[in-house]
Symmetry: C2
Subunit: 452 residues, 2 copies
């Protein structure tokens, strides 16, 4: 490996400037679920890239615009960074210690919605490039694809990638996220579960009715929804949709081995989230770790119907809905699951339950022995002072399927996350020490990738 | 009957003044479920009574204050009016054509939250007394009890009545509501179902969690709630709590006869509320009418959990809750039902489902052959030009149990309601013609009651 003294000195000296740029990015709300601030944030991202000499273009889609940028480098190899500029909704607002879109630094952390997921990653990577550019040209071609719908299941990204394979042509890809676990070990996440997100809606009456009038004789949308949901999963957590498990590939012996080398998070989960017990009779160990990622899910993410304010209101609700996500494992497919869900509800007489498809991604994985993966792991070791843990599959989802299967890229992860980063929750934050470490790591990946 | 020419002329001449007083009362929000404006509204009601020479006192309770007022009359008989000044929450606000607390008259109707339930009744009754007072003394003693928690199950009223039996001593009672059905027939409602309103809450984690992390291994509050609710009632509408139906007294032959004389509302329900079908295989006729009131219910009035905004948010909710009301028929008892609900949930392993008691009332009925009931019916016939329909029991609930069983009063109903009055819904309204008819009716009831 080459000498990184100058790079590291640059990053040390310019940290405040980079954090100020990140704060500006976080202060721009960009909530894809609520369609707030998306074109504004895309423009800001393009400006940040252009400031580094990138040719950055903003491409419209049926949803949020996609930013694609390229800057040539010494080698003819191309590294593609995938990031997203959209964030999760900030609600519940009352649980934030400081306002979500007014980023604040305190106790070595920066707080704000999106500071970790995913704006901090983007800012740290640009910071790494600043350090390399301070010494001359980039060591290799670098491309960025920064989308604005990752938090709403990247509904338009796969089509965009299919239609722009030349534009996005590359040799390897760094994924949007990564980080350390609760033992400060950096993680190499080699696969993502898929997802199918749906809203289930029952709409039976033209208005809410006094429950004294209709309670005994009118159909109740909330009851219909409860009964329909109840047919989807049993109290034993078994998903009851016929054929749901058909394409589930059980973890291989190698997967089980890799999983066994990972830290056990069970005690951490109990203290961090107040988890009172694990489901399916699990208590910890490798079985818990394997179940966490290699089993598909059916999660109720939200329920809404009728009166939800304080005290009592005696109404029979006209309408009820549930948000439900299915996490999918290789080789399940979101469209197949959607069709099976419809067939299941119909078979149980729930033709009155409407399904709205809020997006899906297929699961995908990268080979742990790929040499780009080895490069990312090798460069991390010096910085984090321990080897990266290889994680064959993680519980979260993302649009890695078209990167792996359409662009044909090895996809490696690296990032600034840590267990208390509270992505998707109030008081989302990053540790500034990990922000700088991620920039140091990325500078090494880009230079080493160009030189090999 | 005496001559009511002067009374009716007075009411015709002073209608606008009375409606202006009603509008002022409606413009004062008084939402018991949300604890908004209650003492202010009680003070306004007391002022309205004092303006008619009543000795009006405001009594504190553990909840909203109760207004009790008395004015002596010629006879030593006492008629007690029961009304309430609280209203239902106005939500969903976007469905109101004009703001709920800015009453408006258009097309012969007045619109506003509480204009029908129950402020219009109170104002029309005071208007009737104005007409009698214009001719001298009141024909009998008149008392009012106007509470502020009827819409939240009158949680403190029964205790207040038990502790103030002398203050409330009377010979007969006019109930807070009444009105005509869709054939313009005035209704005499002789009984009310009871109610037990509960909130069921599941609280499992310390915060919402990213569903990619917890979905496969953490317990989900929304799922626990769905499964718990599902054990309460089957898709066939049978309530599954052991012993729930134990004390249900089936309707007598006379009840069935009285019910058969009532109009069939089934087509009206379909057009007014968009009811697509009736549950339990009912299609109309006397069986539907009887089922509507003589069967107890378990109604989900509201569901809330996790993310409920637009689009998708991938969270595993820490908390979920449901509002549920049980309508009870003679001789069910709310405390007994509450205990059976707890035992049922525990027996099904749902010790994690917390029950919050949001109030209850026992069911109660008045004898259709009572002579005060006959007086109220007799005086109505001249005004509505048809005999009152005797309804042995209605679907709604109220605190009539202590009036019937503690104060020992016959309770008769009369009012200005009509089928499209939208009590508890957006665009609540009254017909002004029925407002005046109710005032004319009440003037007759008071004078005839004093003279017999």
């Amino acid at each position: 490996m080459s000498d990184y003294t100058k790079v590291d000195s640059f990053l040390e000296a310019n940290m405040d400037k980079s954090l100020a740029e990140l704060a500006k990015l976080v202060a721009q709300p960009s909530i894809s679920a609520q369609k707030i601030g998306l074109p504004e944030c895309a423009a800001l991202v393009a400006d940040m890239l252009r400031a580094r000499g990138f040719d950055a273009q903003i491409y419209p889609t049926a949803g949020s615009p996609v930013v694609v940028a390229e800057r040539k480098g010494k080698s003819d190899k191309t590294l593609l960074f995938y990031n997203h500029y959209d964030v999760q909704p900030p609600e519940p607002l009352e649980l934030w210690d400081t306002p979500p879109f007014e980023p604040q630094i305190r106790n070595g952390k920066m707080y704000g919605r999106g500071v970790s997921d995913d704006k901090g990653h983007l800012a740290a990577r640009l910071f790494a490039l600043d350090a390399l550019l301070a010494e001359g040209e980039l060591p290799c071609n670098v491309k960025f694809i920064v989308e604005g719908e990752e938090e709403t299941a990247s509904v338009n990204l796969s089509k965009f990638i299919h239609e722009n394979t030349d534009l996005l042509k590359a040799d390897a890809c760094i994924w949007e996220f990564g980080g350390v676990d609760h033992t400060e070990t950096p993680m190499q996440y080699l696969g993502l579960r898929g997802i199918q997100y749906v809203e289930l809606t029952v709409d039976l009456l033209s208005s809410d009715v006094h429950s004294g009038t209709g309670g005994s004789i009118f159909p109740n949308a909330a009851w219909r929804l409860v009964w329909a949901l109840n047919t989807l999963k049993g109290e034993d957590e078994r998903i009851l949709i016929p054929g749901f498990y058909d394409n589930v590939k059980p973890p291989s012996a190698r997967d089980r081995q890799l999983m066994s080398e990972l830290a056990d998070s069970s005690e951490e989960y109990k203290s961090r989230y107040g988890v009172p017990y694990f489901i399916k009779g699990l208590t910890g160990g490798n079985e818990l770790k394997i179940e966490e990622v290699f089993s598909p899910t059916c999660t109720i993410c939200g329920l809404t119907s009728g009166y939800q304010g304080p005290g009592s209101k005696t109404v029979l609700p006209a309408r009820a809905s549930a948000k439900v996500d299915f996490r999918l494992v290789p080789d399940q497919n979101p469209k197949d699951i959607l069709a099976k869900l419809r067939a299941h509800l119909d078979a149980h007489g729930f033709t009155d339950v409407k399904i709205t498809d809020l997006g899906g991604d297929a699961p995908a994985r990268t080979d742990p022995d790929d040499k780009f993966v080895q490069l990312v792991c090798g460069t991390a070791e010096e910085i984090y002072e321990k080897p990266m843990s290889l994680v064959p599959l993680v519980g979260g989802s993302g649009p890695n399927h078209p990167f792996v299967h359409v662009l044909g890229l090895p996809v490696a992860t690296a990032g600034l996350g840590y267990p208390d980063t509270k992505a998707h929750a109030p008081n989302e934050n990053i540790r500034i020490d990990l922000y700088v470490k991620h920039a140091r790591h990325m500078a090494r990946v880009v230079r080493e990738f160009g030189s090999r």
